[in-house]
């Protein structure tokens, strides 16, 4: 933790200088600008990652993590690896053992387990330590290109696709010492909870490994289940309509969806190119900060990342601080509560109220906020559908080849063909209207705002952090996580991480882990004896 005298800096949402990037003034000129600055295809080396300081290392290791290496956070594992109290080989083997024991029959989180990870861990064990990610086993969503490893996006289209290069985010994680343990199950082409291309449900929520009917969250559910189910230390996913925040909430993880452009999309199978966000699904705020610190920053292969404010020290931001001997917020923060957030007497409502009370005790100001005047219209179904042509366009060749390649996800790719050019441009203007209203109206009332739907901030590309705030029993009596989401202003990742870091310093929700699968219940382990399947209508309704 930091001393209070280190808290006099400001979060990045208070430090942005005015800039002039007039090429971004319109959709058309933005597209033209993108063409002019794109480097030749093939230049794909990762930019040097921002240095990770001592804040990334844990000062103490929990006894349960010392007893079971699959329990370690990145921060804890990094400390043990640095001190040579554990080797990357032991860590990878511990996860392999757990994957072999549970994944195929229960969690179903992996598309591919990379056997090479063990050899890579052996190399890491004898190599110079590269920093906090050195030798850390990571789960990668299967829409990130991984050189030499099958990358299917759970689609018939890519069922045999083996890229010859890594996505920039993957390259950066590997350059920082991370080990790719495997590729994770996901919704077909990142649309819904993980299923096979024809809709058979695969991945389960790690908190109910014997019951497939519990939603594991959105399309990054394989990544989430691997991290929550202790089959990887941390993981990455993508979010277009809630697929980092939803599985993080569903599985008691800390997920960070950065501002659009903060982390590069180069080498990721596209879904909606103005709304796709790469980010971590991690065990706590510190781990999410470490992952984002490595992944974020300009990439010459992704013009969306260029010319943005520099990435601040996110790990320091996530590190709890004390003021007057007690944990406190790093920066004064007003948390906005939207109408209806606390309604009712459900376990969720109770957990939300307690969460806000905890933040108040840390020094936050809690205020009720009003939503902007056009909020319902501009975040509703019709304007959310403006994203659909962005998925149809890059896949036209496959739609022409055979529509059956899209399996159960076909409908939204077809729908995207029926919005006109003027509809699409109107949608971009609507984004601008909404953004101005959010900044002028909503953020005039607060610094961060609670979220109950991913759609508004995914439309706008604003950052969000998801974190666990409690549990409630399901019909089997098993605890199921209750999550919360905070949304921030552009590039407010540091503030969001600082808030959750402080919350986790005074609570223990993030330290709870799900029970292992009950082998005796194997007979009911596929949705109570039935194969669960999503229909085209289900996928369309749930589609990101």
């Amino acid at each position: 933790m930091n001393d209070e005298d280190e808290t006099t800096d400001l979060p990045q949402d208070r430090l942005i200088d005015r800039r002039s990037f007039l090429t971004r003034m319109s959709a058309l000129s933005a597209a033209a600008g993108a063409v002019t600055v794109l480097p030749p295809i093939g230049i794909r080396q990762a930019m040097a990652a921002v240095g990770l300081g001592n804040d990334a290392y844990a000062q103490t290791i929990r006894p349960e993590a010392l007893a079971d290496p699959t329990e370690l956070t990145i921060s804890e594992a990094a400390t043990l690896i640095k001190k040579k109290h554990i080797s990357p080989v032991e860590l990878v083997q511990a996860y392999f053992d757990r994957i072999a024991r549970y994944d195929a029959d229960y969690y179903k989180a992996f598309n591919t387990v990379r056997g090479e990870a063990l050899a890579e861990a052996a190399i890491a064990a004898s190599a110079r330590n590269l920093g906090p990610l050195h030798g850390i086993p990571l789960a990668i969503k299967d829409n990130y290109y991984t050189a030499g490893t099958l990358t299917t996006a759970n689609s018939y289209i890519f069922e045999d696709f083996v890229p010859d290069f890594d996505a920039t985010c993957v390259a950066r994680l590997k350059a920082a010492g991370g080990i790719v343990l495997g590729k994770m199950q996901m919704g077909p082409l990142a649309t819904t909870r993980a299923t096979t291309p024809d809709g058979i449900v695969t991945t389960r929520n790690a908190w109910t490994p014997n019951n497939a009917s519990t939603d594991p969250g959105g399309s990054s559910s394989g990544s989430a289940t691997a991290t929550a189910g202790r089959m990887a230390t941390s993981s990455i996913g993508t979010q277009t309509g809630g697929s980092i925040t939803a599985p993080s909430n569903a599985q008691a993880l800390t997920g960070l969806k950065p501002t659009v452009g903060r982390s590069p999309l180069y080498g990721i199978v596209p879904l909606t190119y103005t709304r796709d966000h790469p980010g971590p699904l991690a065990r706590d705020a510190k781990d999410a900060a470490i992952m984002t610190q490595v992944m974020a920053g300009p990439d010459p292969n992704d013009p969306r990342t260029l010319g943005l404010p520099p990435v601040p020290d996110l790990v320091k931001a996530a590190t709890p601080v004390r003021k007057g001997g007690a944990y406190a917020l790093r920066w004064p923060t007003t948390i906005g509560v939207i109408p209806g957030f606390l309604n009712g007497t459900s376990a969720t409502a109770v957990a939300r109220a307690a969460m806000l009370q905890t933040f108040a005790s840390l020094g936050a100001t809690i205020v009720d906020v009003t939503l902007p005047p056009d909020w319902d219209l501009l975040t509703g179904g019709s304007f959310n559908n403006v994203r659909l042509p962005e998925r149809s366009e890059p896949f036209l060749e496959f739609l022409k080849q055979d529509v059956r390649l899209f399996g159960v996800s076909l409908n939204s790719w077809m729908q995207g063909l029926f919005l006109g050019g003027e509809d699409y441009l109107k949608g971009q203007r609507a984004k601008f209207v909404l953004m101005q209203q959010v900044l002028d109206d909503l953020y005039a009332q607060c610094d961060v705002v609670v979220q109950t739907s991913p759609v508004p901030f995914d439309i706008l590309g604003l950052p969000e952090i998801a974190f666990n705030i409690g549990f409630s029993p399901n019909s089997d009596g098993l605890p199921v996580p209750i999550g919360a989401i905070f949304g921030g202003m552009p590039f407010a990742e540091d503030r969001l991480l600082s808030l959750v870091g402080a919350f986790q310093a005074v609570t223990d929700f993030h330290l709870k882990r799900p029970a292992d699968p009950v082998v005796a219940l194997a007979a009911r382990s596929i949705g109570g004896g039935q194969t669960l399947r999503l229909t085209a209508e289900d996928v369309e309704a749930l589609s990101e």
């Binding site: 949402d13 430090l15 942005i16 200088d17 005015r18 800039r19 002039s20 990037f21 971004r24 003034m25 319109s26 959709a27 933005a30 501002t259 659009v260 452009g261 103005t274 969306r304 010319g307 404010p309 219209l377 179904g381 019709s382 559908n385 659909l388 022409k400 529509v403 059956r404 899209f406 399996g407 076909l410 409908n411 939204s412 077809m414 729908q415 063909l417 029926f418 919005l419 006109g420 003027e422 509809d423 109107k426 971009q428 203007r429 609507a430 984004k431 601008f432 209207v433 909404l434 953004m435 101005q436 900044l439 002028d440 953020y443 590309g461 202003m489 552009p490 229909t535 085209a536 369309e540």
Partner: protein
């Protein structure tokens, strides 16, 4: 004079024509099979929903085109255009800069 809304059959003809123009063949799908991952009936239905629901809603929305450029990435754009962490509107920034 009020425009008569198109019928389902007219919409289906429009959808099939548009798909044929760009070379997409949905006849490879079963006509109607709830056990199949996709079928022609459901594809046509979902496309009709977009045409009769989303398209009119977007069309009827009339933002000020001078004040609201069609920005692809509003979060970074708005941040670049501000100097106070996004709290100030682009409209106010323009006024400060003497641009309107």
């Amino acid at each position: 004079m009020a425009i008569t809304p198109p019928t389902t059959d007219e919409l289906n003809i429009y959808i099939r024509a548009r798909l044929a123009l760009i070379g997409i063949d949905i006849s490879v799908l079963p006509v109607s099979d709830s056990n199949a991952p996709a079928d022609q009936t459901r594809v046509l239905s979902s496309c009709r929903q977009i045409l009769t629901g989303t398209v009119p809603t977007i069309s009827n929305y009339l933002p000020d085109v001078q004040e609201n450029p069609p920005v692809l990435y509003p979060a970074p754009f708005t941040e670049w255009a501000s100097e106070d962490g996004g709290r100030k509107s682009l409209r106010d920034r323009r006024k400060e800069l003497g641009l309107g």
